[in-house]
Point group: C2
Chain length 290, copies 2
């Protein structure tokens, strides 16, 4: 029976890249992708900068490890895996474009290269190595549906979710390298998970976050990969703080569109008061208030 | 010693208004305000429509219960309490302005009437009784600092937090009548609390939510009043689902400005990519995508 529904199985691969060990890191991503394929995943999300590691000491180090898209070896390996497993893969990668570096996500599918996203909000020392993203928040038409990407600190900005949802994205894929935030209470989800849940709920959009674990040059990472449904509640995870693991969830991407309607009066995205926001946010931006 | 710090004590008064019983409801708010004053509160937040109740059966019923601002009896009573206790009060009220009704919050201080906020995002049958807010998200300069208001469904829209924070608000006061959301897991905070935490964290702004409890004409309410710090973590609450109670927290409003700086590179509000948002959100609004 043919239907308009879009059921998919999403896997987020929580792993531990090691800085500079590209061959080892790529082998680990490919092994975990194989595992996800065996679990029946249609879409796999890998962490931020998963081929190179994160804590660069110099721009030269980052530059040496970076690759052009889609010709670099890492993307070519993921393309081969996507074709072999007939799946879509979203992976964080250190991208080189001429003399510029970007903290990017590459999107590949069974039929080839689909596109790239470049992190719009650089965090900490990333400001020393990377250019801020210059592609906006593109929505990719993939074999499994409309997906957009965000990377780590991007989800601290609710505009990221909005830009994806308002362009029709059903699922936001988030390769990330979350770091601990101060004052985390033990009995509450990590703040990054709270931001993912709030963004999913407020936009009726699925959100799939693949984080890394481990320490790198003194920087600890957080794990807690999570897949959130369009209602804002977790479908899988949060994963552990400290183990490599795969989390898997089934979702019907069609629900992201259908269930934006909350009752006979309210639809989340249409209820936005754009008459007010546009004028006020523009005015405040011009006045420079904060 | 004179300092530039702004320490205050905030109380959110979780109560159960009864539909149509204005005299009884007002007496209850005034008794709880007295209790908050004894606890040393400088600022008190009361629930949405706390003087009238929420589930109107007809527009005529709502109209009869509504009052003009600031001349209505409810506001006058809160003004007297604010003067007597030398405190600021934010209270949800059914406002009548000519032939129009608004779901409003009134802000009064020791020296008199400060201003009003009108709910921008009407929920459910409110669309039958109330006009959508037409005052934007005003920020009030009060004796204790810069505060803004939002009411219930308003916090489903991250633009609400942004508009307040970008105009310099240090604290968002949220009179609310939260209703249960589907699929609430037992081991996670209610979604309204998650939205408050995410909004506080992403904007480095304190958020104080006073909810109601009980049932009204078949509609259950949620309690779970909460006061959230500028880091996004609860300072007090969540309160119970089903008991009238006061939650109290001390906060230094100066922290809302100081701690927006996350590290030597990042400041939450300045890191916004307004170059990209303004163009893209405007373009998407024109294209009508959702």
């Amino acid at each position: 029976m043919s239907t308009a529904e879009s059921p998919i199985r999403v896997a987020c691969l929580q792993m531990e890249p090691r800085i500079g060990e590209k061959t080892r890191n790529m082998a680990r991503t490919l092994a975990m992708i194989d595992e996800a394929a065996r679990a029946g995943a249609n879409l796999v999300v890998l962490p931020e900068l998963c081929n190179t590691g994160y804590v660069f000491e110099t721009r030269e180090e980052a530059f040496e490890l970076a690759e052009p898209l889609p010709d670099g070896l890492s993307t070519q390996a993921w393309l081969e895996a996507a074709a072999r497993h007939r799946m879509t893969i979203v992976a964080g990668i250190t991208e080189r474009d001429g003399e510029s570096l970007f903290n990017s996500a590459v999107v590949v599918g069974p039929k080839g290269y689909i596109g790239r996203y470049r992190k719009n909000h650089p965090w900490g020392a990333e400001n020393l190595f990377f250019e801020p993203g210059n592609l906006g928040v593109p929505v990719f038409q993939t074999p499994i549906g409309r997906i957009a990407c965000a990377i780590c600190y991007d989800i601290w900005f609710p505009e990221t979710f909005r830009l994806a949802a308002l362009q029709g994205a059903d699922l936001l894929c988030v390769p990330t390298n979350w770091v601990p935030m101060p004052q985390q209470p033990r009995d509450l989800p990590v703040m990054a998970n709270i931001l993912a849940m709030a963004g999913a709920h407020s936009n009726s959009m699925f959100v799939a976050c693949a984080d890394r674990i481990g320490h790198e040059r003194g920087q600890p990472f957080l794990g807690n990969s999570i897949i959130v449904g369009q209602t804002g509640w977790p479908l899988a995870g949060p994963a552990s703080f400290d183990r490599e693991e795969m989390i898997v969830a089934d979702m019907n991407l069609s629900d992201a569109r259908r269930k934006r309607t909350l009752n006979e009066f309210n639809q989340l995205l249409r209820d936005r008061r754009t008459d007010m926001y546009d004028e006020m946010l523009g005015a405040q931006a011009r006045r420079g208030w904060y």
